[in-house]
Assembly symmetry: C2
Homo-oligomer: 649 residues x 2
């Protein structure tokens, strides 16, 4: 006999009346098919995926200047070399990820690439790093965006923490509503920031050529040396500056993760966009660093005014409309950068859940409730970091790039493995290309691994240990979850030829406290299931109540025996369990179905007044082998669903 | 046909293995019958029920002296008259409650007496007053006990709040463990306090007679007048002092509530104990006040050292061992007084729940879980008050006696009504006695009502409004709860001759996500219930999963059709509901039973990883008329309850 398989259409949206409030708050859901309608052209993909890496230039130069400034004017001279190495690294990483776009057209996230090539532990390491990173992206970008605002309006400087948390709250609310459709809106601040940065370079060039370019407002500040220099100390300081400058690379991987969102040919379009992004980020970073050094901009200990705002102020003039516009664009692109984490976090969670590393509830994107949990959680962690570090961008950055470079390294190392395997199967004609690709990724892996070592070495005592601790915790948690799901799956698997075995006998037990409509309905349902035996069961909690129940029972003339259990300790669960076990002992292959009459009330506070013991009993009975629990609901009028004609009983 | 009624013995304690941890924490439960074994002899009943009223003398004199002290030395002369009126009031109230012991041998709590004689609203007013009062008893007694400790060890004075909250926590833990059996332990500090108070009087008399009695340590302090006096102002200040001094009466009602706990003849023994308590409290209060005035003890603004400790210090000598012993006994009896509230609060809640004014979960004393909630709640409110009022006894007392005198007045007024009814039925021979009793209660009612008016007038702006607000809120809440229960009860009542009506058809729907052991078991159970129709139902959340399910289904050759619902918005609940409604539309008098396979895991964190959508679906289906929900549990090995031989499927 073969199974009968057919399909029923799902409900149409128009027939739906519930959830109107949810719709109002979080917007309309998207059909699964609609996803294909939202594919991005390159000009739109660039701002959507690049707000994070491009916005990094707003703080990367600042960090280099800040760290080296502590070494005094002599060490400041190394800034241009540090920046040059960062720029080179940016080129290497972009080249490296360009390959990923082609090799993983379904999205080459660090997790996917590592899982594919380096195994589970590497993949989970990458995933932990990325999850931590999303939190850091929100915190760092938001705080940096607030710095841009405060640089324009210094009187706000005492409100940095409050404003930052406020932005996080706005992002959380916006994402709970769903901001996916707003790709076009994303483009505005990103392009504005890019264009204005190059306008600033042009103005600076022209004013410099005519000798009209003023110094930065902080150029007069003496550099107070607070760090030891000379020999190895200078090297260490330079490495620290380099490690901080590497924040310019954060977010570079976003495009290679997002290949499926591009129009066809997806890989090619993604690669082109990535190269465009790399070119923009590199040139902007170099330009800003050169300008900062040229104008002698000094990084301020509290970050206000920011170095980039000093450049804009000097170039455009301190109260010029372009200066304010530039600060607005800077703040805008940084908030967008934070927003990317709100998209990335649930997506990665969903992938991890699919691979059974996170609770399965996170798997389905349609499950808005759980999505919301992820969004709120991300916002809460970011806000906690902002408050905990007092919105200090320099301290937050110490935690940031550990995760970034962990996932970079694993992703690139995974690509090297990928090419090794390709090489084994490829026809001779393709081998040279593959070997070249392998070199690119190998260089990427080695370079990012080297940076990771430098970052670990220079930052671990300055707060990075916290990020590492978070990563280790996540890693362990995902391992444990995965092992649990695997064990359950094995335990539940059908054996060969296993099929339906009906129980020898079924006993129906109806729990009764009073004889009223819900009880009668439960009795009717129990009888309708045609059990081998049927009893009504009550627990004696007070003599008066039981006496009344017995009288009612006699009067109603019901053809069902009423069993009353003594409960000297006034418990409900234990006597019922003992009774059920006695029934099961008499017939070990029998099954007992416990029918629980429940009346259902409409208002939340009404629910507090009822059914608490039924709930506890139901939860407990689930642990009892051979016992089934059937809820027989009786809807009261306050639910708005009471049947007009009684269904039964 | 008549119902078959029989009784099954409950489980014996020895067979029980679960709950060992609970036992360890909260002690062994008491059998209902054991209650009768704990009846109290008078010598034990006195300390158990009288710690609250007797301990009140530790702060009542203090409050009088404090309030009048603000009027300067001239007004202080009124103190003895104020104390005399308070003592007279104490005698009146004791005489009044003595009658209640005889009239209500089952316990004449203000709620019971009011409900019996004055109707629901009066009873609820009394109940609200008492509930608020229990919280105040804890807060005031504990803070006063801490004052006794600090008076002995002044260096602790900066820790008053911490120590008070600490005592509350200890009481909460002790009561969670159950301290009912410890009647004998209660006797020690109470008798010690009583005996030492009279020893102090004796020593003071002797030393005073030989001219060797020193003044109080604060006698040299000038009384700084901070209140207006003269004419009506003096009167107001005196009334205020009187209102504060009335705290001496708090807890007098405890014995009349506790008549059932006395040995036979219950009423007589209770009445005798009440008189003994009244005599002790009155004489101690008078003695302490006289001594305080004689030694010119001054109340301190922060309450340290307390007046009563100044008396002990002067009489026994500041570093005499009797002084320290007396402070310990004072602290001890005050903590016991606080403890009485932890017994009274759940008892009253239970009575209110029995009358359907509070959630029914509070009704059964055996329900330790809910009992615990009450204990924790009481402790939390008291701790909040202590922290909120910075452990200031004078400010806390402003909130205290509103509730006490509200319940006194209602209780005595109820007694007057009680005698009126008795009088109507009594034989002429008893009428004179009843009339006399009525006079006693009428005097009590009028006196306490007068005090209530004075208290309201003098204290409402000093914080009593908070107590009144709490009482009004409780009153409204209880009314609403009662109305709800009454409405539900009416709605559920059986109509005449209503009896079992079986549904026309029963349809079984088994929810399926994969084909594994739990699914097979659920299918077997569904079939065993012999439904009119049987289908397996799945929701298409991802194509890949559904494809695999269909393959498995075909391969297993199950004789059950598999229905797959489309869910374009990746929801589970909605498509299932629509399907069920369609089935019900086809047969409006049919019933659909939804079988949900659930696998049950052992550890709490494992439970987070499973069944969340099943839980949500089950909760939602309860609101669907004509739909039953059957949970078919499958216990995994981690529950320790997996069946050795598979039950079925």
């Amino acid at each position: 006999m073969t199974g009968v398989v057919d399909t029923v259409r799902g409900p149409s949206r128009s027939s739906v009346s519930v959830g109107a409030l949810k719709r109002l708050l979080v917007g309309n859901p998207l059909r699964s098919q609609q996803l294909s309608e939202t594919l991005l052209p390159k000009w739109l993909a660039l701002p959507v995926f690049s707000s994070d890496p491009i916005s990094s230039v707003a703080y990367a130069t600042e960090e280099i200047v800040l760290v080296l400034g502590a070494g005094g004017i002599a060490v400041m001279g190394y800034a241009k070399w540090v920046a040059a190495v960062v720029a080179l690294l940016l080129v290497i990483v972009v080249a490296s990820y360009r390959q990923t776009c082609y090799a993983y057209p379904n999205g080459g996230g660090a997790f996917a690439v590592s899982l594919d090539n380096l195994g589970e532990s590497a993949a989970l390491t990458a995933a932990s790093a990325l999850l931590v990173d999303y939190v850091m992206t929100v915190a760092v970008s938001i705080v940096s965006g607030v710095v841009a605002v405060i640089s324009a309006f210094p009187s706000l400087s005492s409100h940095a923490v409050g404003m930052s948390v406020g932005f996080v709250v706005v992002l959380v609310l916006a994402n709970l509503r769903g901001v996916r459709e707003s790709g076009r809106a994303f483009a505005v601040p990103t392009y504005l920031f890019i264009v204005l940065t190059f306008v600033m370079f042009a103005v600076a060039l022209v004013r410099g050529a005519v000798g009209d370019l003023p110094q930065a407002s902080t150029a007069g500040q003496e550099l107070v040396r607070t760090e030891r220099i000379g020999g190895v100390f200078t090297l260490l300081l330079t490495l620290k500056a380099f490690a901080s400058g590497c924040t310019a690379l954060t977010g570079v991987e976003a495009i290679s993760n997002g290949v499926p969102a591009f129009r066809k040919p997806k890989s090619r379009n993604a690669a082109l966009t990535l190269v465009a992004m790399g070119a923009l980020a590199t040139s902007m970073f170099i330009g800003i660093t050169v300008l900062a050094l040229h104008l002698h901009a000094r990084a301020q200990p509290d970050g206000n005014p920011s170095v980039i705002s000093q450049l804009a102020s000097a170039t455009f003039g301190p109260h010029n409309v372009f200066f304010y516009l530039y600060q607005a664009a800077t703040a805008g692109i940084l908030v967008l950068a934070a927003n990317t984490a709100f998209n990335g976090f649930p997506l990665l969670s969903s992938i991890l859940a699919q691979h059974r590393f996170l609770p399965r509830q996170l798997r389905h994107r349609g499950d808005k409730l759980v999505y919301s949990n992820g969004i709120v959680l991300l916002g809460a962690f970011a806000a906690a970091l902002i408050v905990g570090f007092n919105a200090n961008i320099d301290k937050l950055i110490q935690l940031y790039i550990i995760g970034v470079f962990t996932s970079f390294t694993l992703s690139q190392a995974g690509m090297v493995r990928h090419w090794n395997r390709e090489l084994a199967q490829a026809p001779p004609s393709r081998r040279a290309t593959i070997r070249a690709s392998r070199v690119v990724n190998a260089v990427g892996a080695i370079a990012t691994a080297a940076v990771l070592v430098i970052v670990l070495y220079t930052k671990v005592v300055h707060g990075a240990w916290l990020a590492i601790l978070a990563m280790v915790t996540l890693f362990a948690m995902m391992k444990v979850i995965n092992r649990h799901y695997a064990a359950v799956s094995t335990e539940l698997e059908l054996e060969d030829g296993e099929t339906l075995t009906l129980p020898s006998n079924t006993h129906a037990v109806v729990l009764v406290s009073q004889l009223h409509k819900p009880t009668l309905r439960a009795l009717a349902q129990a009888r309708a299931a045609r059990p081998t035996s049927l009893v009504a069961l009550s627990v004696n909690l007070d003599e008066e109540g039981i006496r009344r129940l017995r009288e009612d029972w006699e009067r109603a003339g019901l053809d069902v025996p009423l069993v009353v259990l003594d409960s000297p300790y006034r418990e409900i669960v234990r006597p019922v369990l003992e009774y059920l076990r006695a029934v099961r002992r008499a017939g070990p292959r029998d099954v007992v179905t416990v029918f629980i009459p429940e009346y259902v009330v409409g208002r939340w506070w009404e629910q507090l007044l009822h059914n608490q013991s039924a709930l506890r009993l139901k939860a407990r009975l689930l642990f009892e082998p051979g016992v089934l629990v059937t809820s027989v609901p009786y809807q009261l009028r306050s639910t708005g669903r009471a049947p007009k004609a009684p269904m039964s009983g």
